[in-house]
Symmetry: C2
Subunit: 230 residues, 2 copies
């Protein structure tokens, strides 16, 4: 089977390799919310034919982990049934499969039993930096990626030690992130990006963001130092 990185959302950022594999598999699987369409599927909707079998892995967004784990168990089992029958399966992944992708859940369940080829994709991280016209890191600078849902004190401790950082998965955690950055005196230089590469893309200073409107697919870019990246 395949894990296909489809990039941040713009179909023009889907690589030829992912397109070629999509044309040859009989089954596609993708994550989706409990109700409504799958973002990963939407990126390649124009490439999917009616002959394809589709497996929607509907993952509850509950704070408890058990319901999501059960959904991944069922999704992996459904994929395995197709593989056992000799059908090849492509799992569709927004961004890159191994960079915080829910595909990792499927990979860890199936990799012990099946050969899985992962096709890397353009990660949202890079798409957001491009949208913001803001380099992530240069030369010998470290770069920290940190998910916003972590505990506030831990978030502050990590960011205090990182000149260049990206805070991902903002959603309902945005207000907490802004609070931490204000305490660290770094809110003014931070850049907020949502839905990079899509028509609805927005790049804003932190102060201009309404926390009530922040989607899960958004992040904050922080560049440290005073040196102009030379």
């Amino acid at each position: 089977m395949f894990g296909l990185g489809l990039g941040p959302g713009d179909p023009e950022l889907v690589t030829p390799r992912a397109r070629r594999i999509l044309r040859r598999v009989g089954v596609v699987a993708y994550p989706a919310p409990e109700t409504g369409p799958s973002f990963a599927r939407s990126i390649v909707a124009s490439l999917l034919t009616p002959a394809l079998t589709e497996i929607a892995i509907r993952v509850p967004m509950a704070p408890e982990r058990a319901p999501a784990q059960a959904a991944y168990d069922a999704g992996a089992a459904a994929i395995a049934r197709h593989l056992d029958r000799g059908s090849d399966v492509a799992a569709l992944c927004q961004g890159d499969p191994f960079f915080y992708g829910s595909f990792i859940q499927i990979f860890e369940r199936l990799a012990p039993r099946y050969r899985i080829e992962v096709v890397p994709g353009v990660a949202s991280l890079m798409a957001c930096a491009a949208a913001a016209q803001a380099p992530l890191a240069v030369r010998d600078e470290p770069l920290l990626v940190v998910p916003a849902p972590i505990e506030e004190g831990e978030l502050e401790r990590l960011l205090a030690g990182a000149d260049n950082a990206v805070i991902i998965k903002l959603g309902r955690h945005f207000a907490k992130v802004r609070r931490v950055l204000e305490r660290l005196g770094r809110a003014d230089r931070a850049i907020y990006v949502e839905r990079a590469s899509l028509a609805a893309e927005r790049v804003l200073p932190l102060a201009a963001v309404d926390p009530a409107t922040v989607p899960y697919f958004s992040l904050v870019l922080l560049r440290g130092g005073t040196e102009a990246g030379s």
Copy 2:
């Protein structure tokens, strides 16, 4: 002008958007060693026509920064001359332009005067994780990216505080990196990857690597924790 992320090396990972822009510009610029071919150019060599004007920005690899800065100054000036004459220019970048790309040097020189569109690419980070079958990070785990050339004590301090980490730009710094990971008791779980997505790609345990053969385009993946990414 454009900064085009061309991915880790496999031409099948060059996005349709980068291909479309390549077809419409009259000038391409790319980094190259003082002598010999440019890796960025090689990724799209089959797409370049004889009608294109090519600017090779030959960057000395000296430890001093002044010669490299002078090369970027000259490269940016050459690009600016074409832009001023009304030609459009695409800068070719291996990986992603804003993720440790030498393109950042060109961007910082020209962005104050010209409109620059950056097209994100598949970063080597993601290509190496795919090659190694090793997820970078999942759920709420932080991920640290750290360039190998930094000072040994600082490298050790940073890695001691990071469960998930990627050490990039290994080259002649490999022996130092392995020494640090051995001191931290983490060498056994580290994975070495070089030239991901190319025919010469290699994935090795740290102990099997000959430091004399390590190229600049290589990295070490470190995954912390005992939890299977659930």
